[in-house]
Structure formats: structure tokens, C-alpha cells
Amino acid sequence: MLPFLLEIGTEEIPDWMIPSALEFLRSKFPGENVRVDGTGRRLVLRADVAARSADREEVVTGPPASVTGKALDGFCAKQGVTAAELSVIETAKGKYWSFTRKIAGRDAAETLREEIPALITSIPWPKTMYWPSMGGPRFIRPVRWIVALLGADVVPFECCGVTSGNTTMGHRRLGARGPLAVTVSDYEQVLRENFVIVSAAERRAKIEAEVAAVAGARGLQAKADAKLLEVLTYITEYPTAILGSFDASYLTLPSEVLVMVMRHHQKYFSVETAEGELAPHFIAIMNIPADPEGHVVNGNERVLRARFNDARFFYDVDQKKTLAAREEDLSHVTFQAKVGNYLEKTARVAALAGQLGGPDAEAAAHLCKADLTTEMVKEFTDLQGIVGGLYARAQGVPRPVAQAVYEHYKPLSMEDSIPSTSVGQALSVADKVDTLRSCFAVGMIPSGSKDPFALRRASQGVVKILADGVLTVTLDELCAGDEKLTAFFRERVDYYFREVRGFAYDEVNAVMAAGYGNLPDALARLDAVKAVRPTADFEPLAAAFKRIKNILKQAGDVAAGAPDAALYTEQEAALAAATEATDVATGTYSERLARVALLRPAVDAFFDKVLVNDPDPKVRENRLRLLTNLINKFSSIADFSEIVTN
């Protein structure tokens, strides 16, 4: 085995694309013990590779042994062998000419030289560029060097406009400025001496430790932020944490705004006191090892001051007009060109929210979009809703109403929580359902990856709120007979049960076939099916239900009505009695399902002794009715025939 090192040196790759690119390299590289790592400027792969692949033999089968003369000469010429080298072998299909070809192993250097360029150019990126001219290479950013070493030797190839070699580059502005010669063994050390920490895990740990340390030195703690940590890990090569401060007077601004400015605009960690109060400090991550003269802290503090001043300006300007007074201004804000403006939307949402959540929800609906006209939301669009809620509170709006406004965009994802109050849930559902109805009404229905209005997210949010929240409205009522919307929601419910709640697809199919308009009820039935499923009688019973369904399906329409007990055999009478006696209307769903499972002996005995397709049409009809009754009675919890059994 030989150690192999590949480093693709680039200009700064966007941080969020790096892990998946590295994972692609790792999964596609054919060596052993494959490790990947990287920074914005380098994608690194290390592995162990057999120096030479083993020699091997391959049996080549030719024409049937009966073939001779010219036809056989043709085969020999094509394969580059003489007739003397052929022998006849016995195969399952008869006797054939054949020969054994020896294939010499190849040096890894040779194989890698051929395969690595294709591997590099096949990395999938969200959006690539070409350089320096038309027809030039394509990659996420220009490739500037490539290190490719197998053992002590360079694996020579051309790729993306550069020739592979044994030289890398250090930190852009620290350490040596020119190319640095490396070997497979000293690669990481040489880079470290030149202010590049190759390992993302090490950079991440360094950031975490230093963030905790600089905050701890002031008796404070940094707000944990896994996403920001990842970003900073991949936009630095030599990360170092520094603590900066801002004037405490800015703390009168809403902490949401301050945190947003620090996190989104400046990529700072915010800092809290032991009591969880925002402290007038921030932690920035530099891409250099130290700030001895304080330049970096001073610069960052200056920028943050300007940003906070802007925010304060926006806040003060916004308070000159209340949210309530802003509602009518929404007629100038387009919701969607084909659908109309936000004032019209507000009226619709208010009506629906009132139905779902009463007067507080209706009042909140009138205020909830007004923050779109504020300077704060124009500047920090991610804070819409939150700003409205904060302003409502500051302007003396009753707390339940303000809270509903604050939370009405929730849940923003399936990981996010739903609004915490029934008023908030009603407002959020009303807003989202109105968006869905309005867009569907003008034919703006998501297809494939096209979903510009994020309607999937909106509907997924509605599903989550209905399933987890306290509203009693059903999906059917919300869809109001719109078939396309109903079908769209069906997909979202299915997704929610399977992907978010983790139920098996067949359990989901079974329960949804029995209805899902009331989502908490459907969830309770799912829980019950899942709980009862491992019991001994359940799956065999499910198999029997599938059999019954098939029989009924083949029989076509069965005339409705009660079966005639006079025509029953012993087993039919027993099954009818068991069906009748089983209580599926009271108790928990698990209890009801447990009772259904008790039907198994009667069902088994029925299929053991009774032939449904009796020659006498009257008897046959009667048996079909018996089974129809049974299916109908027991399909209100789940359609058991959907359960996949072994």
C-alpha cells in the first residue's frame, strides 16, 4: 500500500458547499482508509492505495466449437490470438472455443493519473463558473493548484487548467507567500506552520473552545449556534476568537434585532449573562491567530456600531406610526401580482382567523402583516412577524394578540416549534391556508422543484400545527372542496407521518385510507396500529383482511343490506357473531385494535371451512355481504389490508 494525497487548491469556495463536495470525493475514491478534509481554499483527500493492482486472468469465450475456417480466423484476429492458443471448453450451452487472457496489473500511479481529473471535474456543485475564457474549465471557483502525491512521487496530470505537483499554498497573507513543497507525511505540518489548519474538526473545536473561553473570562456565555459554527469553520483557515463590546445603551433595542444583526450580518456569536440576558458584547472569529494591536476588535466594533445605529434609526422612525395605522398602507404592498395586495389578504386572513380562533385571532390578523411597511422589516426581512409582535407589545396591544403576531410565521421548518398559543396557531393556519387557497385559485401550484411561493413549507406548517396543536378544525374544512388542494395536503400529511413522525409507510397508508381530516385523531390511530402491530394476531389478521378485500374487489358490486342468518354455516354464524360483538367504538384506539385482533380465530376458521364463491348465487351473495359488513365495521381505524405482511 502507498499513501495518496490529493489537494485541490482553489479560490474561496462557499462554506456551505464544502462538506458535500468532500463527501462526494470520499465516496467515489477507490482506495482504502479514505479521509477527506478541507477549507474554503482546499479540498483534501488522503487514502491508502495498492501500489499495483494484481495480475489476473480472464476466460474469453468465442464461437461454438463447430465453427471453423474463416469465421474462427475472424474471432482470432479480433482478439489478437492464434488458432493454436484456442481450446474447446464445455459450457451449459454446449462446447465453445475459448482462451485465457492474462491481464497484467497496473501501477496505481497510472490509474490515478487517468481517473483523478475525471473525479475532480465530476464533483457536483450548485452553480459553476468558467474561466479564464469561453471553453475553459468549469468548477465552483477557479482552481489554482493541485497537489497529487502517491508515496514520494507526483501523480502527473492536467486538470482545470493546472498541472498537478507537490506544492501547496499557505494562508493568503501569513507565513510563506510562495508555493510550499510538501510530502504526504509533512503536508499537514507544513500547512500548520503556514497558518492553515487542514482539519475542519480541529478548526471547529478551536472555535468552540475559544468562544467559551473568551466569554467565560467575563463571566458570560456565548449563545450556542451550530449553524454559525459550521459557517465559521469553513470560511477560515486559522480561526481565532476575539471578544468585542458595544455600548449598553443599544440594549434598549429588541434583542431579536440585535442578535439578527450580529448573527446574520456580521457572523458574530452573541453573548448572554448567567441569567440569559443579552450582554453588550459579541464574539467574532478572525482568520488570523491574534489581534495584538486591537485593530480587528476596533474595526468590528465600529461596523457593529454603525449597524446598530441604523437599527435604532429604523426603530425610532417606525414608532411614529402604529401598526394599526399601517394596515391601510398594505394596499400598496403586493402580495402576489395575480392575487392582489396585502390589505386584501389581511381581510381574508382576519375572517378565517376569527372563525378558527375567535376575536383575539381576528385582531392579530389585522396587525400581522403591517410590519411589512416598517423600515426595520425592509432592512431585516427575516424578522417579519417578529418585528410586528415586538412593536405590537411596545404599542400596548394585548399580550395574547401581540404574541400571536410575533409567532405567526412559525413553524419555519419541521424542526421549528409551532405557535405557543391557540390564538397564534389559529392566525398561523389562517395566514398559510389563505396563501395556499389564493395561489391555487390562480393556478400557482407547485410542480417538481418549482415552488417559488414556498407553498410546500406553508402546507407542511399547517399540517404540523393541526397535528400537534389544539385547533379542532379539520383539513377537509380548510380545503373547502378544492380537489387539487386536498391532493396537495394529502402528500404533506403523508410526508409528515412518515418523515417527521417516523411511521412505516404501510401503517401510514392504512390509517390515511380510513381518513385523516382530523390529524390528531389520525395520529392517535397511527400510534395504536404501531403499538398493536407486533402482537401475534395482528399481521395474520391484516393478511386475512387483504384477502377479503381482494375477494370483494373481484366480486364487484355487492348489494347492500344485512346478510341472511338463515343461510349461515357454523363458521359464518361464528364470524357474524364475533363481528357483532366486537366493540370498536369505545376505549382507546389501542384497546379497540386489541379487540379487533381477537377476531382472528373466527376469520381463520371461516377461510378454513367456507368457500365464498359458492355455486349457489344466493349463498355467495350472502357471504359477500357478511364480509362487506365486517370490512366496513373494522375499517374506521385503519384499512388493515394496506399493512404489508410477510
Binding site: E12, R172, M286, H332
Partner: protein
């Protein structure tokens, strides 16, 4: 500590020493250095070209009557175009920062993803915003398409925000406190420009007349683009055809759009339509200009 003008001199000298033509600002209103013909039209076609210039850029909606320490109606961009891009372009750029006195071993410099797209110009590119100690000081873009055309050579566009860089260098909280020349501040030089233009843009611009002017400049630009495209135009006539004048009319349209926007005269629905009108002209001129290259090359 260098004055504003001294920093500009140093940047110009730095890029001149590296083979750039030093141009002067374009003399029609533009919203950004990118819109000056030295960028928008020069990046088209096969001719290699390196150029640098300061471009005063007008953004009527950003005016604040000279009151806001960081927002300006008109700010100065230093624009550098390297076509095609040399392999060491980022080193060259960082060298320019060092040339104006920024010791990059003591400051935190990061390149953060920031792709550029201008629907109005039918243009897009891939690049970064350059952050220095947490402040955005430069936009760096590798153009890929301009006027809806894939570019023969990919230029690097380096756009320095001069007020930001100099306030950083001089440690000023307000751009108006920047020392422009010895004894003269940015306020001395530019305050009334900001104040009066803000009054005009927000209060006194005659909306109806601006709409008429927009229509007129649009018609003039469109007439020229159509005439260039018309069949039967002789090669010699194509060579002398005034596409550069057509483009001036497009720039007028763009500035009028920005003025109307600042005046609050364009509704959200109208906005898309007007942007579409300007794009149609810009793309029309760009495509004609690219076509004209073959005739311009004839002596």
C-alpha cells in the same frame, strides 16, 4: 494618514503599474461602476482589456440629505476590470490593499460568497464580498454573462467602496469626517451635493416630466438599436454606427427609473415592467455592440 484623494492616487498608481489603463469617470449618470461603458461594453467581445477608474455612482433612493453618516446619494466606486482574469488576481487585489496601507497580517480579511446578478443588464457573475474586520470593502465578481451573452473572456471586476475603505483607514465614524484633501473634509466637498440632490429626488422632481423623459430616452435608444439591426446596413455603416450613443440613452433611462423609484412614483407592479423596458434596451445594445466588434476591428 492618507487623505481620500491620496488613497485614490495610490490605487490608481497601483493598477496603472500592473497594466491598467486609467480612465476617468463616465460623464453620464450611472448607478454603479459596472454600468459605465468601460465595463458594460468593454467586457463584451474578444479584445483583452485592463482598465481602472473612479466612478461616482448615483443611487437616488439611498440619499439622506447629508444626515446619515454611512448612506449616500452618490458614492465613489473604484472600478477595476481585468479581462481576461490573471491567475493571481486575488493576490493582486490584496497587494492593492497593502499598497494603501492595510497590513493584512494584522487585519482579518475574508472572502464571503456573494454572487452578482443584474436583471436590468441581463448580467450575472460569481464572486465574493470582501470583508475587512467585519466591514464589506469590495465586491469581487467573475462576470459570466452580460447583456444575455456568454462572455468570450471572463473578466474580474473589482469594485472598491472608497468611502468605506477611507473611513476605515482614517478611523472615522462618519464619511463626512473623512479628510478629502489637506484641510478639506468630505463634508466640505460633498455635503450640498447630498442635501440638494436629496431634496430634488425626494421632494421636487417632477414625476410627470420624468416619465415623459423616460419615454423619450427609451424611444431614442430603441430607434438606434432597431436601425442597427435593420437589414441592408453596409459594413462600413455598421462600423460608424452610434451604439455608444444608444447606450447613453439607456443610462439616462436607468437613472430616470431610479429617480422615479426614489420619488415613490413606481408601484410594485409597475416596477417589474419598467425594469423589463430598461433590460430590453441594455440587452439590445450589448448584443449589437458584440456584433459590431468584427467591423470595429477593420482599420
Amino acid at each position: 494618514m492618507d487623505t481620500f484623494q491620496e488613497t485614490v492616487f495610490k490605487l490608481k498608481k497601483y493598477w496603472a503599474d500592473r497594466g491598467c489603463i486609467i480612465q476617468e469617470p463616465y460623464d453620464t449618470e450611472v448607478g454603479a461602476g459596472t454600468m459605465a461603458p468601460e465595463t458594460f461594453l468593454r467586457v463584451l467581445g474578444k479584445k483583452k482589456y485592463n482598465v481602472a477608474y473612479v466612478q461616482p455612482s448615483r443611487r437616488p433612493a439611498d440619499g439622506r440629505y447629508g444626515d446619515n453618516p454611512n448612506r449616500l446619494y452618490k458614492h465613489m466606486q473604484m472600478q477595476v476590470i481585468l479581462k481576461p482574469t490573471p491567475a493571481d488576481v486575488l493576490d493582486l487585489y490584496m497587494g492593492s490593499l497593502e499598497a494603501i496601507g492595510i497590513d493584512l497580517s494584522k487585519h482579518d480579511l475574508k472572502l464571503e460568497e456573494d454572487n452578482w446578478e443584474s436583471p436590468t443588464l441581463g448580467a450575472w457573475g460569481i464572486g465574493w464580498q470582501v470583508m475587512l474586520d467585519g466591514m464589506e470593502i469590495t465586491q469581487f465578481t467573475y462576470f459570466q454573462q452580460v447583456g444575455g451573452l456568454d462572455l468570450d473572456h471572463v473578466p474580474a471586476e473589482i469594485t472598491y467602496g472608497l468611502e468605506r475603505i477611507v473611513s476605515f483607514l482614517q478611523g472615522k465614524e462618519s464619511v463626512y469626517d473623512i479628510e478629502w484633501a489637506p484641510g478639506f473634509t468630505y463634508r466640505d466637498v460633498r455635503y450640498f451635493d447630498e442635501l440638494q440632490q436629496s431634496v430634488y429626488n425626494f421632494e421636487m422632481a417632477d414625476v410627470a416630466r420624468l416619465w415623459r423623459l423616460l419615454d423619450e430616452y427609451e424611444a431614442e435608444a430603441q430607434r438606434l438599436v432597431d436601425a442597427y439591426r435593420a437589414e441592408g446596413l453596409a459594413d462600413a455603416d455598421k462600423r460608424r454606427f452610434p451604439l455608444l450613443s444608444a447606450y447613453d440613452n439607456v443610462l439616462k433611462c436607468s437613472n430616470l427609473f431610479n429617480l422615479l423609484d426614489a420619488r415613490g412614483a413606481i408601484s410594485v407592479t409597475e416596477r417589474v415592467g419598467v425594469i423589463g423596458r430598461v433590460r430590453k434596451l441594455a440587452v439590445g445594445v450589448a448584443q449589437a455592440f458584440q456584433d459590431q466588434e468584427q467591423y470595429r476591428e477593420v482599420a
